[in-house]
Structures are given as C-alpha cells and as structure tokens.
C-alpha cells in the first residue's frame, strides 16, 4: 500500500526532534558559510558574530539577513559555497535591474530537490501510479525541471509538456489519461478553455489532482479550477533562490496553508520595516534559511513574500509548520504568467529604446484566464512623428525589447501626454486589476 507520506519519520516528527535536527544543520551551515562564502563572512564579522555563537534554533535571529541585492552584487557565482566543479546545474530568474538571479546546484542538491518535490507530490495526494502532466516551463526557470526530477523520483510517469500549445496539451491529457496536472493556476484555466474549444469534456478525463503555483492565486480561482477541470487543486510554493518548487506544499486536508519542508528550509516571518521576528501566526515577510543545500545556501533570505506561519496540528498528521497562501509582496514585483516583473525593468527598457525616460504605466489584468500586461507610454515630442509607420515601429520595438529582456509578452499602448494619472506629481507606475481575494 502506498504511504500517505514520502518520509514518515520527518513529516510526523514531534517538534523537539525536528528542532534538534534543524539545530545541527543550522550550526553546520553557519560554519560552512563563514568558512566558504566571503561576502557572508564579512557580514558576520561586521557584527562580531562567530559560528559558535549559534546555540539554539532561536539564535537564528542573531544572523544577518541576505537580500536580493546581495545576489546581484555577487553575480553570477559569488555566493556559491562550492567550487564550480561541484556544480551540475544552473538556473536563473530575472532580477530587478537587468542582472538575473543565478542559482546553482550540486549533484546532491539536485537529488535533495527531487526528494522534496516528491514529498510535495505525495503531500498533494499523488502516488507512483500517477501519470503526471508537467506544464511548468522547462528552461532557466526552476519550475519545469525542478518538478520533473521530483516526479521521476516519486516513480510516477512524467509527461514533460512544458508551456504553450494548449490544444495539443489537452489532447495529450486525454490520450495519456494523465491523473495529475502541474502548472500555474492561470495556465490550468487556460487548459480548461482549450478543452472547451477542442470539445473535450473535463469530466471524461482522468485528472484528479492539480499542483499549482509560481504565481499568486485566490480561493475563488481555486474553486474555478476545481470545477472546470474536475480535480482537487492544491497550492505549491517555491522560489528559485531557495531551491525552486517544493519549499512548501498544501496537503489534501489543509486549506489553510502549505506544509513547509522545514527540515531543509527554516522559515521565519519578520516585520519588513524593522527586520524584527514576529510571533507565530502574525503576518509579515517570509524569510528562509536553507539548511541542507550545498552549492547555493542562503541564510535568512528575505523573500519579499507576505505570509504567516501556523503550527496547529493538521488532519494529515504532518507536524511540519504551515505557511498561509502568499497574500502580497513587500516590493513592487509583479508576477505575470509565472514570470517575475519589476516596474524598474520596464523603465530600463523604455529608457533604452528612446534614450529618454517617458511617462509610462503598467496595467495588469486577467483576461479570460491569462494575465495581461499593457505598457502605456505617453507620446512626447521626442518620439512623436507625423509618420504612422514610425510610431508603429516604436510600439513594436518596445514590445520586442520587453519580450527579450523580461521574457513576457506585453501590449504597448501609445497614449497622449498627461493621460496617465499622477498622484502627487508622480505617476502611479502599476495598476493591478487582477482580483486575487
């Protein structure tokens, strides 16, 4: 019989036991970081902290934070804790100012990640008998390959569909009798639409579980996906800096948060303004320390995601702490169809296209089931022309540059001067019309 856990011992371990494992791993991590990662050693030295000062899991709060800027400053491999000869995989995601965020994995990291994803899948209710359709994008993005290795580790059959071509995907879902679907929630809805177009009745499919993540989604959206695809939709959390998908996963019993793989990723919730650790249950910025990663370990990495932690017992029997669905960001990052977008990146592109900083506004919406992003640019005298062709190529050029730079397709709309609303003289850069609550 299939177990309801991937790793019974860890997943149901009493807190005291779990904390002693966490402490041993934390002490080892801090020592390793101090010895091998110079930028972090300098941070510790600056406050006179030595690895031996960490005597309990609670001492975690003595350690300096790591922020996205540290990753950028040490681009590409400056924070790696192993020589490059040990690294077997590199992933990257877009950063705030052009340089991507780069992450590396040793062979052991890849295996660990596969195990954690396998655990997530079992937590969601999957077994090795499932046929898993993986529609996360394969490539530099951690979603596709990260999930792929986990599905294989579980022993299920993986269909590496990646993104795009929804019509073909729904045909495969039907023909292969896939039972589990992995994708962004908005892409799942897109697949539901494609089924309708092609004339496939979701009720006649074998899908039973969905593991959806990589973008924020609401409870309403969950209901919609469940209804339209006739499956049970679960939430998965991850970010490439910490590892990728699988950092936390919702179980079949909980609709109140995802179990964090806290034997590997030690969570904290802090006040984003003061950096102070908040009492359990309070909402704040999620911070993770990777306890076991070799190539790219991080201590107290500030995710910018807003969430909260729960320790109440869960009906599934897991003792692992749960995190609530991410309700927002502490920065202005937007997630468009699974791609991270910062307004500063759009600004950078606009500056590059015409050499001046135009007034612009980003309007994000969800049309049908897909996120749409429109960049409205005020046409100033510098780039206005009496020729239609020239204005059209300006719009097309901006669109292409954004696609090349950010990997996301946008609509560019040229608008009249002063038509973008300004509050206190400054234009509101982003209007997000998506309803997530």
């Amino acid at each position: 019989m299939d177990s309801q856990y991937w790793n019974d011992e860890i997943e149901t371990m009493p807190r005291a036991g779990l904390e002693s494992i966490q402490l041993i791993r934390l002490q080892k991590l801090v020592k390793r970081m101090y010895e091998r990662v110079l930028p972090y050693r300098e941070k510790m030295d600056a406050i006179g902290l030595r690895p031996e000062h960490i005597k309990s899991v609670g001492d975690l709060r003595l350690l300096p934070f790591t922020v996205k800027a540290d990753l950028r400053d040490n681009y590409p491999f400056g924070l790696f804790a192993t020589p490059m000869s040990e690294v077997v995989r590199i992933h990257a995601s877009s950063g705030t100012t052009g340089k991507p965020t780069v992450v590396g994995y040793t062979r052991k990291d890849i295996d660990l990640w596969a195990n954690i994803v396998a655990r997530s899948l079992v937590t969601a209710g999957a077994t090795k008998n499932d046929i898993v359709h993986n529609a996360y994008g394969y490539g530099l993005f951690t979603g596709g390959l990260g999930a792929h290795y986990g599905i294989e580790k579980l022993g299920a059959a993986v269909v590496p569909a990646s993104g795009g071509n929804s019509r073909r995907q729904v045909t495969l879902l039907r023909d292969f009798g896939s039972t589990v679907l992995l994708s962004t929630p908005s892409y799942a809805l897109n697949l539901a639409d494609a089924m309708e177009t092609v004339g496939i009745d979701p009720k006649k499919l074998s899908l039973r579980i969905g593991v959806f993540g990589a973008e924020p989604w609401s409870e309403n959206m969950r209901e919609e996906v469940e209804k339209k695809l006739n499956l049970k939709a679960t939430d998965i959390y991850g970010l490439s800096e910490i590892m990728g998908p699988g950092v936390a996963q919702e179980c079949q019993f909980s609709k109140r948060g995802m179990h964090i793989a806290e034997d590997h990723f030690l969570p904290e919730v802090i006040n984003p303004e003061t950096g102070e650790v908040l009492p359990e249950g309070e909402e704040g910025e999620l911070v993770f320390t990777t306890l076991t990663k070799e190539a790219f370990p991080l201590i107290r990495y500030r995710t910018r995601d807003i969430s909260r932690l729960y320790r109440e017992p869960c009906a599934c029997g897991r003792t692992l702490v749960r995190m609530a669905k991410v309700t927002g960001r502490t920065d202005d990052m937007l997630i468009i169809r699974g791609v991270n977008v910062f307004p500063s990146q759009v600004e950078h592109v606009l500056m590059g296209v015409e050499g001046v900083e135009p007034h612009y506004q980003i309007v994000v919406d969800r049309k049908g089931n897909l996120d749409t992003m429109t960049v409205e640019v005020e046409v100033s005298e510098q780039f206005f022309s009496d020729k239609v062709r020239r204005l059209e190529s300006l719009g097309a050029g901006i669109k292409k540059e954004i696609k090349d730079y950010l990997g996301v397709t946008v609509t560019v709309k040229l608008v009249e001067p002063k038509s973008i609303q300004r509050s206190e003289g400054k234009a509101a850069r982003v209007i997000d019309k998506r309803k997530l609550s």
């Binding site: 046409v379 100033s380 005298e381 206005f384 022309s385 009496d386 020729k387 239609v388 062709r389 204005l391 059209e392 719009g395 709309k413 040229l414 608008v415 009249e416 001067p417 002063k418 038509s419």
Partner: protein, 143 residues
C-alpha cells in the same frame, strides 16, 4: 518650396478631434486642410493651417503632442488623370511617398495635393524638373 504642416498625436477616444479644432478656433486659426491617419490604437491628425507655428504652440499648451514637419503642396489640374501624371513622374524617379491628402482650392478649379516623401529634397527636385506646379507656403497660408 516647402509648406509647414502640423501633426498631432490623438488617442482613439471620443472628443479628441473636437478638442483640437476648438483650440484652433479659439485662437482664430484657420484650417486649410486636414487628414487623419488611423490605426487600431491611435491616430495622427495632420493639418495645414494659416499659421502653423502659432497652431503648434496653442495645441502644445493645450496638452497635445505636436510636431511641425515640412510637406510639398502640389497643384494638380482638376481633370481625369491629373494626379496619375504627377505620381507617374515620381515613380519613374524612384521617389517613395509616405502619405498624401488633397483639398480643392478656393476657386474650385484645381486640387492641392499635400505630400510627404521619404526624401523631401530629392522629391522637390524631381517635381520641379517635371514642370508640376508647386504651391508656396505664402500662397497656401493666404488661400
């Protein structure tokens, strides 16, 4: 032999053309000819007026994006084939046209074709060589 034209950026939304013509009327600027180039998302309004510099300033003050560009005004006899003859000369000389629009002069006899070419200098040279009648800016503004 070039004539100043003003081009105004207009979003495709109701009331924009009315707003522009109102600004011009309020400032006692006469419109000689106009044309709107339309795309799905925006339009470019091109105007020949009796005082292009003043018109541009008024519209800019009214919050519009304006450029003043030079175009050629060609007088064409109002008879069948009149325009075809002119275009034939240009095509023979390899001059490509960006856009054209026409209006009829006050006497009602001849049509004035406002034309924008990719290479204006070259176009003017070709036109002068063919004996086509070009209208000066003074003539246009005082029409």
């Amino acid at each position: 032999m070039l004539v100043e034209q003003i081009a105004v950026f207009v979003e495709n939304k109701p009331g924009r053309l009315a707003a522009i013509t109102k600004i011009l009327a309020d400032n006692k600027i006469n419109i000689r000819a106009l044309s709107v180039a339309d795309t799905a998302d925006f339009g470019i309004l091109r105007l020949i007026v009796d005082n292009p510099q003043k018109a541009a300033k008024c519209l800019q003050d009214g919050g519009f994006t304006v450029v003043v560009t030079e175009v050629v005004a060609i007088e064409v006899e109002d008879r069948i084939g009149g325009l075809a003859t002119v275009l034939g000369h240009l095509a023979d000389a390899g001059v490509s046209v960006e856009y054209m629009y026409a209006f009829v002069n006050r006497s009602g006899e001849n049509a004035i074709i406002i034309s924008r070419f990719e290479h204006m200098d070259n176009a003017v040279k070709v036109l002068e060589g063919t004996g086509v009648k070009l209208v000066s800016k003074e003539q246009i503004y005082s029409m």
